[in-house]
């Protein structure tokens, strides 16, 4: 396994031989290695201080406002419009990412061509490039006088400062998630399986659709969910190209900022709670999908 697969991949590959013992209640497997209490204690305290306690502040704050205040904020037409745009554009962008991510993974794993190394290295650019930089770059490219925008303008197609711009930024940001989840699984497919399909008379397309694609489905869905989760919360790369018109091209994270600028902490918190709950649900789904992917791989 390449040590450097980015981000949320490979969640719980069990340690070699570690599942032989079932640990008892709160006990750990007997080990002669030192430092367990210190390492675990430090990790848990640090996790609580940096992540858990601050996150719980959002829920407590929102509880102190009460259900009415929460509901009033969330169903406000301008907020609803921002949710619609954020979820809608993220879904479409994640779907495009799934399609092109699969294509990228396929071409990178199966074919050798000029520039393959460059493509493989730069696929992770959206991870590495600060979002504000991506944001102003995309806005400049797709503006009416930009490299791409000036080509599309005669066709009557405006991208910058419209909801389409939001979509373009989200496609940019989500691509590596799918490529990097599908790529290792595709590398693991044994050639024998495809050869068997070919021997049995399947065409190349049939082999892909009936043999390879089902095998890739868990990884593909994981990548889709990761890209979607990232897209829904994305802020920096979107706000420059979105134009941020109320009811038209405002994304949900921007609504939080807007509420904060009006010192409406309760309102900002209410939107944050909706987004956090969605993140938690997505995280659970992604964990389930990853377990599924690994079961599939181990079953071979």
């Amino acid at each position: 396994m390449p040590a450097a697969t980015i981000d949320a991949l490979d969640v719980d590959t069990p340690a070699k031989g570690a599942i032989v013992h079932r640990p008892g209640l709160l006990a750990r497997r007997h080990s002669i290695l030192p430092g367990f209490s210190l390492a675990l204690g430090y990790s848990v305290v640090y996790l609580a201080l940096i992540v858990l306690i601050p996150l719980s502040a959002v829920f407590l704050k929102s509880a102190s406002v009460g259900w009415d205040g929460f509901w009033h904020t969330v169903v406000h037409p301008r907020v609803l419009a921002s949710f619609r745009l954020s979820f809608g554009a993220s879904l479409i962008a994640a779907a495009i990412n799934a399609a092109f991510g699969l294509l990228f993974a396929w071409v990178l794993v199966r074919y050798r061509f000029l520039g393959r190394g460059l493509v493989d290295a730069l696929v992770d650019l959206p991870f590495a490039l600060p979002t504000a930089v991506a944001g102003i770059a995309l806005a400049t490219l797709y503006a009416k006088n930009g490299w791409i925008g000036s080509l599309l303008e005669p066709l009557g197609w405006e991208i910058a400062y419209t909801p389409t711009g939001v979509f373009v930024a989200l496609v940019f940001i989500g691509l590596p998630f799918v490529v990097r989840t599908v790529q290792p699984v595709l590398e693991d497919i044994e050639a024998e399986v495809e050869e068997a399909a070919a021997c049995l008379g399947a065409t190349r397309w049939q082999t892909f659709r009936r043999v390879i694609l089902p095998y890739l489905t868990p990884a593909l869905l994981t990548g889709f969910a990761l890209a979607f989760a990232r897209a829904v919360g994305e802020y920096g790369s979107v706000i420059f190209i979105a134009g941020n018109m109320p009811f038209v091209s405002e994304i949900a994270p921007l609504m939080i900022i807007t509420k904060l600028e009006q010192y409406d902490y309760a309102g900002a918190t209410a939107i944050a709670v909706v987004m956090l709950v969605l993140s938690f649900v997505l995280l659970l789904i992604i964990n389930g999908l990853q377990a599924w992917t690994q079961r599939g791989q181990r079953g071979r």
């Binding site: 675990l40 996790l47 600060p130 940019f172 919360g233 939080i256």
Partner: protein, 287 residues
């Protein structure tokens, strides 16, 4: 594995005379590669190229003056400072968490792994908001902090906290699978031979994980220096004081000072390229 190697060998021969049952027709291959290259150029290369093109549009002098302006310099200093605090904090946490998770068995391990990942799935804006709710004037600790005259929000500590939050999982995320795959046989042997815990870690574990650790730190650093959403919420945008480089880029861009905005942005883009270079290097090393 052998099958994949031989397939790769086959398709790398430029003039392929023997069509294989598990290869696609040349035309299909060319079409797929063409599609990938087109998408790659449009969505990845062009945004990168436009950063440098815009940065140097008005020449070297405009570029230099964009980077060397007092506000930009103080933004660079602040970004380096924040990363210099946040990255070591998460480095220590990452090593500790990976040690506990990879080398020992305990209940709730999977929950712990999931919780470590949590900051990845939280929107950057929400990551900033939680610290406003804690330390803002109306927050839990706000009034107390005000009484003591301690500034966290709209000051360096707030920027550090938000950055630590968003970069929290990076090092742990790299180390956990790596150390799990390596098991703990070597460490156990060292301890049996009488090495102390620290010596075992330094002489046995560290050499094994150094490339993964380096990559985790590099990723963590790239995100720490480039973070925008979370930092933007807690910074207060005080020029020359609480503006990091990405925030400086935003301000310059919104003032239509494009040359300067892209000049600062080009430094961040260079950082991204260096990060990807290290990543490629580490991957080659570990194969």
């Amino acid at each position: 594995m052998a099958g994949i190697v031989s397939r790769k060998g086959l398709s790398s021969t430029p003039a392929q005379t023997r069509p294989s049952a598990t290869d696609e027709p040349v035309l299909v291959r060319a079409l797929l590669i063409g599609l990938v290259l087109a998408f790659f150029g449009l969505f990845l290369l062009m945004p990168l190229a436009v950063v440098f093109a815009e940065a140097f549009k008005k020449g070297w002098e405009a570029y230099a003056s964009g980077i060397l302006s007092p506000d930009a310099l103080s933004a660079i200093r602040l970004t380096l400072l924040v990363a210099a605090i946040a990255v070591p904090l998460n480095l220590v946490f990452g090593v500790a968490a990976a040690w506990a998770i990879a080398k020992f068995d305990f209940r709730g391990k999977n929950i712990l792994i999931t919780l470590i990942d949590l900051p990845f799935s939280v929107s950057p804006v929400v990551s900033g908001l939680i610290y406003v709710l804690l330390f803002g004037a109306q927050g839990w600790f706000g009034p107390q902090l005000e009484a003591w005259d301690v500034g966290i929000l709209y000051a360096v500590p707030g920027l550090v906290l938000a950055t630590v939050f968003v970069t929290f999982p990076f090092v742990a995320r790299e180390l956990i699978p790596l150390m799990q795959a390596q098991g703990s046989d070597e460490e156990e042997a060292a301890v049996v031979l009488g090495a102390s815990g620290w010596t075992t870690f330094r002489r046995v574990t560290l050499p094994n994980i150094k490339w993964g650790l380096l990559y985790g730190v590099i990723l963590c650093n790239a995100r720490a220096m480039g973070e925008f959403g979370a930092v933007s919420v807690v910074s207060g945008h005080i020029r020359g004081k609480t503006n990091t480089m990405p925030l400086q880029v935003e301000i310059l861009y919104n003032e239509y000072n494009f040359a300067a905005a892209f000049a600062v942005a080009s430094l961040l883009a260079l950082l991204a390229l260096v990060t990807l270079g290290v990543k490629t290097f580490v991957e080659r090393r570990s194969v």
